[in-house]
Symmetry: C2
Subunit: 394 residues, 2 copies
């Protein structure tokens, strides 16, 4: 075997997803890109905002000597300060530059956090459905994922979370707005979760971290607001990125921030910085750090996502599908008309529509549509959803 | 404890290095930057070449839509093809785009490689002295570093390597030009190492990878050439970056390349791409991938490094220090005049010269000077080295 056993196993787990992607690529070749409707990947289709382009040009053309070299592993001081200022307003907690580490995207931030806090054999409670890579991230650090089902409306089931927390629990990892459901956990839920975790810390005598993965924080609809996790709980670490709000997913620029109220916050910060170094990230990309320092609070215009959401939600609902209306992010997670979500996704594929089965998110019986796509992709797929709806619900 | 046990342990191990850095920062504040001579960090002081600035400006100002989003996890096809073409010439082996993964620097590449090939309990043989983070990288993947001393001249000791290889050995990790010694392993050594590893693979029935960390490949002096590792051994994986040759250390842009002759090279590549994803790197930064695609073979003018090397080597040698002349990279690794290298580095600190003790590289009794510094840093330190040399050797 030329690769490690775990890697070989992960091939097996993801082999049918890969096969689907390959089939999708073949379909595009056979039928032409315009005739294939690809909702499979969360790669923002919107261009970064004009401010991004302006700041990038300015920084590149000033040609400052030495600005592509190493900086401290946590990132440029001025970038960390800018992020901290923005977060302080957002979270209602006074966060300093010293509480922020710039990271290689949110995925980098999550691995840094998990490396810094998990001992082998620890457990991380994760509400399901969840972003499939969480399992791998937690396993990278010899710990176990403990999935806990959310309710019918995809809100957190606090009683189930309470039951799942045990003597090995080191963290609860939430993602709001959620991938794949689009759910934004309401303030009351977050506040009750904070209360629950505080109680559990006291009971177990261990710090249980709330790790909040928030890359979709600014992509919310209908006046929804993502409640501030730091205001609700002291032992909170936020992981986030500019991948979605500035459409920079390929540039790998994100951050993590620690609630200054957590005990020994400085030791934790030192651990996070150390983890950033020894995992091989070393630091977040230099130029993009300098760019985002000047773009705090700037985001893409999300109205194209809203249009896609509305069209898909209305069409699917009218056609008989059961769908929880997404409040944020750019995913819809309808119930599959048939129990076997993989079979259903294959059926969609037959109509040149690419989706991901709920099984890929720990929730069989559903399917995910990523609607960060061009309007014509949505428009082209609507008749297919109607036709298939007719078949199952008509 | 707010952090994982291993992280807490790594604080302890590195605590005196950190203390020294902090002392160094204090010194700069007290005495002024110009009066402190800092040889502690391998952060290239040279500006990236003019071609880099030109290509970066061109790419940024063309403002192509969508070029900051995700691409395949292995990187842009055209970047991988450009790297493969350049490497093919360099290595004398026909490497294709499919044998290359773009990575978050060489540190990212090394972690991706180790994740892809190491099972828990495996061993990695590493010639010492070695870059201190290797130990952490290998430990990240639940494997053990097996250091093997090099000879007096810092060339590989093949008999010692042969003895160190056992039934758990999965890889031998070399670094040439070497950090901290500046040694370039000669062609005869590399060829004998290839022969040895081939024999060991046949004996053990396991693939033993040669992982060659080569970020200093283009920084060589006096007509030295880094021999091609792929020509010498089939199961070779190269890790490298543009951090040093283009002075882009903060941008985190590097790559790995697999010898197409290794058995099941495609499965290995799949594993490497999977590891790049699940470790949280996801992909190498997009813009820098597009930049380096057009800068293959371009490098900084290394004559300032050569000047520093020559001045330091001559002065130290004349003052009585025992130094192996570096053939590449930008490090000198002289023998400490006293056995206790930490004490000696502290003595240097008293004269406002910052160095790193050999203990930090698994080789007590030596010290490392990183001479990727401004000429005045070298000029200012020379009298100190002479004075201290007088004391010990005069």
């Amino acid at each position: 075997m030329p690769v490690a056993k775990k890697i070989a196993e992960s091939f097996q787990r993801s082999s049918w997803i890969r096969k689907m992607f390959e089939e999708g690529a073949c379909l595009s070749e056979t039928h032409g890109c315009d005739n294939v409707f690809d909702f499979s990947i969360g790669n923002p289709n919107l261009t970064p905002p004009a401010e991004f382009q302006r700041v990038l040009e300015e920084l590149v053309c000033d040609g400052k000597v030495g600005t592509h070299g190493y900086m401290p592993n946590a990132g440029y001081r001025e970038t960390r300060a800018a992020v901290a200022d923005y977060l302080s307003q957002d979270q209602g907690v006074r966060i300093g530059a010293d509480n922020v580490v710039m990271t290689v995207g949110a995925a980098g931030a999550l691995n840094v956090i998990l490396k810094a806090v998990l001992d082998p054999g620890d457990e991380v409670v994760v509400p399901s459905p969840y972003f499939v890579e969480y399992g791998a991230y937690i396993d990278n650090h010899q710990s176990a994922i403990k999935p806990v089902s959310t309710g019918e409306d995809f809100d957190l089931d606090l009683r189930a979370i309470e039951k799942a927390i045990g003597s090995k629990t080191r963290a609860v990892l939430i993602n709001s707005p959620n991938n794949p459901t689009g759910r934004v956990y309401p303030e009351s839920t977050i506040s009750a979760l904070g209360e629950l975790l505080g109680r559990k810390c006291r009971q177990t005598g261990r710090i249980i971290y709330l790790v909040s993965d928030e890359p979709y924080r600014r992509i919310v609809y209908d006046g929804h607001r993502v409640p501030p996790v730091m205001a609700a709980y002291a032992n909170t670490i936020i992981a986030s990125s500019y991948s979605k709000e500035l459409s920079l997913a390929g540039e790998r620029i994100g951050y993590l921030a620690v609630n200054p109220s957590t005990p020994q916050a400085e030791v934790l910060m030192e651990g996070l910085i150390m983890a950033n170094r020894i995992l091989g990230f070393v630091n977040a990309p230099a130029l993009m750090q300098r760019v985002v320092a000047r773009l705090q609070g700037v985001g893409v215009d999300i109205s194209p996502y809203r249009r896609n959401r509305d069209l898909l939600y209305t069409t699917l609902t009218e056609a008989g599908y059961s769908v929880v209306k997404p409040e944020g992010a750019f995913y819809l997670f309808p119930r599959s008309p048939v129990e076997d979500d993989v079979a259903f996704v294959k059926e969609l594929l037959g109509h040149l529509v690419l989706a991901v089965p709920g099984s890929g998110f720990g929730k069989p019986g559903y399917f995910r549509l990523a609607y960060c796509v061009a309007p014509q992709v949505v428009d082209g797929a609507l008749p297919v959803f109607r036709r298939i709806g007719e078949k199952y619900f008509g």
